[in-house]
Structure formats: C-alpha cells, structure tokens
C-alpha cells in the first residue's frame, strides 16, 4: 500500500519561504500571485495490512508537528 502525506504550515503561521518564493515569482514577471505557501509531501511504501489509522498515528507522532502544521493523508 502506498500513502502520500501532505504537510503544510497551518493558516496563520507565517511561511517565510513561501513569501520568498512569491517575491521571486513577482520578480520574474508573474503578476497576480497573491500568496505562496510551501509544504512537503512524504510518500510511504507500506506493508500489506497497514491502515489509514496507522498513517494518521505516524503523522501525529512524527511526520507533522501539529503545533504549527496540518496534514492530510492520501491512500493509494
């Protein structure tokens, strides 16, 4: 089973890297980029029998810091 975990900084948490990317896009002439948020994608290759609940537990314990980050899990 494959799972893909998306981790993003929560809304309201300043993302200075996203801001830097937004400025760089503006400097390249891409107008109208009002905001950029940068996150990460973690792909997991899981043994048979793993469940979405297992992946959620992994997110809570290690993959995301829920003080500052939100996550979503995509299975398959």
């Amino acid at each position: 089973m494959k799972a893909r975990v998306h981790v993003m900084l929560k809304n309201g948490v300043l993302d200075p890297q996203g801001e830097a990317v937004r400025h760089a896009l503006g400097a390249l002439g891409f107008a109208g980029v009002n905001g950029v948020r940068q996150g990460k994608v973690i792909e997991l290759d899981l043994a048979e029998g793993a469940t979405e609940a297992d992946v959620t537990a992994m997110c809570e314990k290690l993959l995301a810091n829920t003080v500052i980050e939100s996550y979503s899990v995509e299975i398959g």
């Binding site: 900084l9 300043l14 200075p16 290690l62 993959l63 003080v67």
Partner: protein, 222 residues
C-alpha cells in the same frame, strides 16, 4: 550537582555545554541518544545545540523521538531540571516538554552573532543570578529560532512569568521577541541563544556564566 548532557548524531555544542557545567562545579556525564535510561541521581539534563539528525524532517523532530528522550520526559515529568539550548530548545519543543515551536527565521538567513538579551524574570534556578531587566550579551547561531505559539499559549507564558529572556532587537521574527521560556514548574528552560558560548573570558564574553553558577546549589533533586 550532577549533570547529564545528551549527545545526538549532529550535536555540536555538547562538549561546550559540559565544560560550562564543569566550570560551575558540576560532575558531568555524557549520555548517548540510544541509551534508554539517564544515569541515576542526575540533577539536571542538558540538551545541547547542534544539528541533530541533520535537521531532517524538522529541527529536533527525530531527536525528540530517540530512546533517551523517553527517559528525559520521565525526568521532567517527575519535576527534574533540564535546559535545552538552540537545537536543544527545538528538541524540548518537539517532545512537548515545552510549548510552542521554532520556525524558520523570518529573514530566512542563518544568523550567527552576539546579540542583546533582556532577562525578563529572575524567578527560576536558571535566571536567579541575574536581575529582571538586566541586559546581557550572548551569541545566537540558528536558522530556525523564530518562536511560535498560539495566542493563548503566549498569553499564558506572559501571565505566568515564564518568559525567561527576550531579544533586545528581534533577529528572527520570534513572537513577543521571545528568546527563552520556562516550563510551568519553572524547572525546564529552553532558549535559542548560547550561554555556554559566553561562559569563559576566552569566549569574548562571560554573560552566560551566571546561569550555570546559579544552578549550583539551587537544584532540588526530583
């Protein structure tokens, strides 16, 4: 005073911290991250600066889940003292021993320089060697020192007098200029600046030495 300093792969201030503890008169034992138990009768645990596990995933995240951190958590849960400096502060935040998190510096740059700190409270074993309101100068060296916590947590830190140090000129975007915070029982300190790098005349400054001196004799074993 018996101190333990935890060593992770990528720690680089572990020996500096041990030297600062020793200069203040402590017996120091180094503890490897794969050990499952802290040595017996430890008065204080030091979590040093550095780049544990290469800062992979998030600064301090993998270190916070290493075997020794279960023992560290048990130590602080029963009222034991601990200090986390720089990466050590990030580790303490990741374990949940201290609230909040350390985000990337607002200016995106790694900053290594001596900065001004205001001592906000002298009401802790760590800060009783200073007077509230004192300004001291010690170095910072970090890329992710931008302290963040939700508004309720920041308010609680303020109301409970748990902000230990603030920056006189905020270098990294930290909420309320926060450079260091105390746990609810005031026995755990996390701070981004490096007092162990300002603890000997050879360092170019000794403003951090009072923190280690103050710990001597102040600690009640847990």
């Amino acid at each position: 005073m018996k101190a333990a300093v935890i060593v992770f792969p990528g720690s680089n201030c572990d020996r500096d911290l041990a030297v600062a503890f020793e200069a203040a008169g402590a017996d120091v034992q180094m503890v490897w991250h794969k050990d499952t138990e802290l040595p017996r009768d430890i008065d204080i645990v030091g979590v040093p600066g550095g780049f544990s596990f290469g800062d992979y995933l998030r600064c301090g995240a993998i270190a916070a889940n290493s075997p020794i951190c279960n023992s560290l958590k048990a130590h602080t849960d029963r009222g034991g003292y601990a200090i986390g400096i720089c990466n050590g502060f990030q580790v303490l935040a990741e374990t949940g021993i201290l609230p909040g998190a350390l985000l990337r510096n607002a200016g995106l740059k790694y900053i290594c320089k001596t900065i001004g700190l205001k001592v906000v409270t002298s009401d802790s074993a760590f800060t009783q060697g200073y007077n509230a309101g004192d300004e001291i100068r010690i170095p910072i060296a970090h890329h992710d020192g931008n302290y963040y916590a939700d508004d309720a947590t920041i308010a609680a830190l303020h109301d409970q007098d748990r902000i230990a140090f603030t920056y006189t000129e905020n270098p990294n975007g930290a909420a309320k200029d926060i450079a260091g915070i105390l746990s609810e029982n005031r026995r755990v300190l996390g701070m981004m600046p490096h007092p162990e790098r300002a603890a000997d005349a050879g360092h170019g400054g000794t403003d951090g030495a009072a923190l280690f001196r103050a710990l001597m004799g102040a600690l009640t074993p847990a």
